[in-house]
Amino acid sequence: MASRKGSHQTRGNGDKYSVLLPTYNERENLPLIVWLLVKYFGESGYNYEIIVIDDGSPDGTLEVAEQLQKIYGEDKILLRPRARKLGLGTAYIHGIKHATGNYVFIMDADLSHHPKFIPEFIEKQREGGYDLVSGTRYRGDGGVYGWDLRRKLISRGANYVTQVLLRPGASDLTGSFRLYKKEVLESLVERCVSKGYVFQMEMIVRARQGNYTIGEVPISFVDRVYGESKLGGNEIVSFLKGLLTLFATT
């Protein structure tokens, strides 16, 4: 692994990785995440493209995305904007439609997910030929920055209840930093009906149902948003409702 970091040769085996970035009011973060993606993909030599799916952000995110396109090229930065804020599932569907990669990364655009893990995801996928690789905050040296005791308790507690009820075979179900084979993502997104946190859980559950193989990579999650948007009672209630629905229907 150490010898690979210095090599800049292109991995010419035909694989291409499309990164889907749904954005809403990420004017500040979008350039940074794109810069990091370009850095780590560039260093690793893998072929890639970044697809920005902006849901009509009022803060001018799309305009910044257009500037980035000029800087990095239209073959590397693709724009697939939408008129208004629609769901995550439809954002993925919309984004995949014009993706030219055979693998798809999904991740958050707010810098909570760090592109430095991308080579690890790719290597893990190749190692086991996995249909999907899920970033986990709960295993190995995965973890979180910026959470107080209350938030950690809610997170671990919710995850424990989910493990007991659904026995999903993956340690982090609400995580959204993942690598999918393109056809697997297409197939799963069509079947999922939930929203929010539960959507990501449903994707994993449906993957198990479809006998898709799942690999895991420990990731660090840097939460810079938590201070502004506390996890409130409403979100917890809707999470539980979604969990019980999955429990009863899958």
């Binding site: 350039p31 940074l32 800087i71 760090h114 973890g143 424990y160 026995r167 840097v222 999955l246």
Partner: protein, 92 residues
């Protein structure tokens, strides 16, 4: 079978076995000791599960990694990125 149905099935099977032994439903004339042990089992198992759950979640919260370095690294890279993008012509 959905997870709910799996649970219902599992609980039914265990429940039937428990009732069979505790209330001697088939007139098996099992030794009194069996009944005495079986009778409190449901409550006992629930308590054990409850303790196990608390211990597990407690342990996991206590050992939840705090990624200090990740945050610092990110801060440094943000500075680097902003400067590099400025040079490349990005107007924020």
């Amino acid at each position: 079978m959905t997870k709910l149905l799996e649970w219902v099935f599992g609980v039914s099977v265990i429940g039937a076995a428990w009732a069979l032994v505790t209330f001697d439903l088939l007139n098996l004339r099992l030794p009194e000791a069996y009944k005495e042990v079986a009778w409190p089992m449901p409550v006992y198992l629930l308590v054990v599960f409850g303790c196990y759950s608390l211990a597990t979640v407690g342990y996991r919260v206590a050992t939840f990694n705090d990624c200090e370095e990740a945050s610092k690294e990110l801060q440094d890279q943000i500075k680097e990125a902003k400067e590099d993008l400025r040079i490349k012509g990005l107007k924020m």
